[in-house]
């Protein structure tokens, strides 16, 4: 009997098609935009950026387990994403209309996603908000869109023994180093020749680190990333006399050999004793304490004229605009804002707790704790990055400008170009609703 070859192909394709159909969704669940039925419970999907970070994910999983155990109406299901591509995943899901009910987001992106219609305002008990660290709340046009369990802060890492050697006074929040004093300190240490460089800035990390860590000095000089009165232009803020002064100072750090333009990934230079001072966040504090013990100091940032300034806002949780059960999602967020969870995050990550009660539960941020200075810096000096939908463009433009100036570009021309790019983006988006 002659076999028809087409039958074999059709049968093969059919078998694979059935296979694909069968494994269309690994858990067999239907994709319902974030909420679906499960034994009478409405399922609320929660997207979170910490895949691969077991310490952080453990706390999130505990929050979810406790919430689910307390519920008869809703069940939260976690889906973790790697941080570096998290925003791309969220934006793609928004395009496809497939956002989950609950999702976390980095603080500066909140206005953009609120303006873009990705997220909706959340409802948090006022009693909770009254106790919460302001920089851990994500507002856009007076509405609260997200809230976080921690904040981050930067400070100047130093060693008591090094400062003593060079006869450098220890600054305080009330009496920080002035700009001139800081310049003299860097010069003294550089001339001492003991270190490769006086200062480690982490400039190898060309990412959100640039606006987060370096725009506060611009603001301390009196400049800014944008005119915060209108949010319609960067003119004057990013290329005015104060900004030019900042640009010249920033370029001088590298021209004078105070800091390296090429640093090692992971920034081990300070821990290895190859630099005297380091601009770093509180997340590295525990490791520094383990290395240097009582010799370790976490100092406030210098005052360049307008007082010390540091960046504020970290990751926060909110509710998507397409969530079919916002009441359930709000119930989860309110449930998760307990002091013990905040303390657990602090213990896991070393970041700043958002309430006094939670701080008291932690080793490092309780009164007298070794990392308590960061909490004070966050409360006194934190300035959130501009809460405007234009921030994502501002961030990348500022990063490029600061990088170019670091590498020797003309300060005025570079900042003028940055202002032109930011203003063009704002104009192209009709002012982003401002």
């Amino acid at each position: 009997m002659r076999r028809n070859p087409w039958l074999g192909i059709v049968a093969g394709l059919g078998a694979v098609t059935l296979t694909l159909a069968g494994c269309g969704s690994s858990d067999g669940s239907t994709d319902d935009g974030g909420a679906g039925g499960n034994g009478g419970l409405s399922t609320l999907k929660l997207w979170y950026h910490g895949a691969g970070n077991d310490a952080e994910r453990t706390v999130v999983e505990q929050q979810i387990a406790d919430f689910n155990a307390s519920q008869e109406d809703y069940e939260v299901v976690l889906e973790s994403f790697p941080q570096a591509s998290y925003n791309d995943s969220v934006v793609a899901a928004a395009v496809a209309g497939d956002l989950p009910c609950l999702l976390d987001m980095d603080g500066p992106i909140v206005p953009n996603w609120a303006w873009g219609g990705y997220v909706q305002p959340i409802e948090v008990d006022q009693a909770i908000l009254d106790t919460w660290l302001p920089s851990a709340m994500g507002y856009y046009q007076d509405d609260l869109y997200a809230i976080g369990y921690w904040d981050a802060a930067i400070g100047m890492y130093a060693r008591q023994s090094v400062l003593d050697t060079y006869d450098i006074r220890i600054p305080t929040s009330d009496d920080p180093w002035s700009g001139e004093e800081f310049e003299a300190i860097l010069q003294t240490i550089t001339e001492g020749g003991e270190f490769d460089y006086a200062l480690d800035l982490g400039v190898n990390d060309v990412s959100e680190w640039y606006p987060y860590a370096f725009s506060p000095q611009l603001q301390s000089f009196g400049g800014d990333l944008i005119d915060r009165d209108t949010y319609l232009t960067a003119k004057g803020a990013l290329n005015g006399p104060e900004a030019l002064e900042w640009g010249n100072w920033w370029q001088g750090l590298f021209e004078k050999g105070y800091a390296s333009t090429t640093e090692q990934d992971g920034n081990p230079e300070f821990l290895e004793g190859r630099v005297a001072l380091q601009l770093n966040g509180n997340w590295g504090g525990v490791q520094a304490l383990e290395e240097f013990g009582d010799d370790m100091l976490f100092l406030p940032m210098p005052d360049f004229g307008e007082g010390p300034v540091i960046g504020g806002q970290s990751w926060m949780f909110g509710i998507s605009a397409t969530c079919e059960h916002p009441e359930g999602a709000n119930a989860y967020i309110n449930f998760s804002l307990k002091d013990e969870y905040v303390a657990d995050f602090t213990t896991a990550l070393g970041l700043i707790p958002t309430t006094e009660a939670a701080a008291a539960m932690t080793e490092y941020y309780q009164p007298g704790g070794a990392l308590e200075p960061f909490k004070e810096y966050s409360e006194r000096f934190a300035l959130i990055r501009p809460p405007t939908p234009a921030y994502s463009v501002i961030s990348s433009v500022f990063t490029k400008a600061a990088e170019d100036i670091k590498n020797g570009a003309d300060v005025k021309a570079t900042l003028d170009q940055a202002v032109a790019e930011i203003d063009a983006d704002i104009a192209a988006n009709d002012g982003y609703g401002n």
Binding site: G24, A51, A96, D98, G266
Partner: protein, 306 residues
Amino acid sequence: MTTSPTSRQISDPTHRPSRRSRVWPRYIPLVGVAIVFIFPLLFMFMSSLKPDAQILADVRSFRAFLPVGELSTDNYSAVFDRVPAWRFMANTIFVVAMVVGFGLIVNSMAGFALSRLQWRGRGIALSIILATLIVPFETIAVPMVWWVAKLPWIEFQDFIPTLTTGWLNTYRVQIIPFIANAFSIFLFAQYFKSIPKELDEAARVDGASWFTIYRKIIVPLSGPAFATVAILTFLPVWNSFLWPIMVVQQEALRPVQVGVQYFFQLETAWGEVMAYTSFITIPVLLFFLVFQRAFVSSIASAGVKG
């Protein structure tokens, strides 16, 4: 006067240097090029066995390429604690096998139709297919996400076919859009053109159908083309990153490349990164080693025929 062999060799214009002495000068630059390509892999494998501090210390010297210092498989253990690596590997192997398998069938058939069959509009069809090559995937990725979220599918629930909407979070969304490939079709069409048409005519006289000619004459004579397309299809699908992060949200369905980003936290664990990338590079190397003879042969012949 006696003449030493050496001086005779030098003065004799008909003397040819030995094969070894002729080959060595050509090998020197080749060895240099090989080093350029091998050393990154060597660095990756060696670093995967070292603790982070040693990786960063060794990177400034030749020690980075040597199995020296404190060596262990700790990084590999940590990788499997942090990432469901075997699951990601299984997902990728499944997706790659499907795309390559279906791609070879579909694209070779298309190439056969464009190169061996006579039909009106054949040239225009080939031109349109080739024109799609100039469109970068990144420019159509977002519209594609929008489309695949709305495409229908038949799912079997309790053996009952049910019409559903949306391909997100599935294997099929990682497979089906990448089966048809313009470059593969072009490569098959070019290769098939080089096979004498007299074979087709003889087969037709014997009563063979076009499918029989494709299956029993063209396919057996086109091994190098199939191997080349298999490799050229395999690599981009294996390295696929942007598309999966846009269309796959469930961890259980993610491919290996997405797993790389699990290691880039506040403090990057470089030893684990190197261990994971070693883990996902080995199948690629094996695949190439298996097909390299046919691959090189086909690329060389395609180059001659243009």
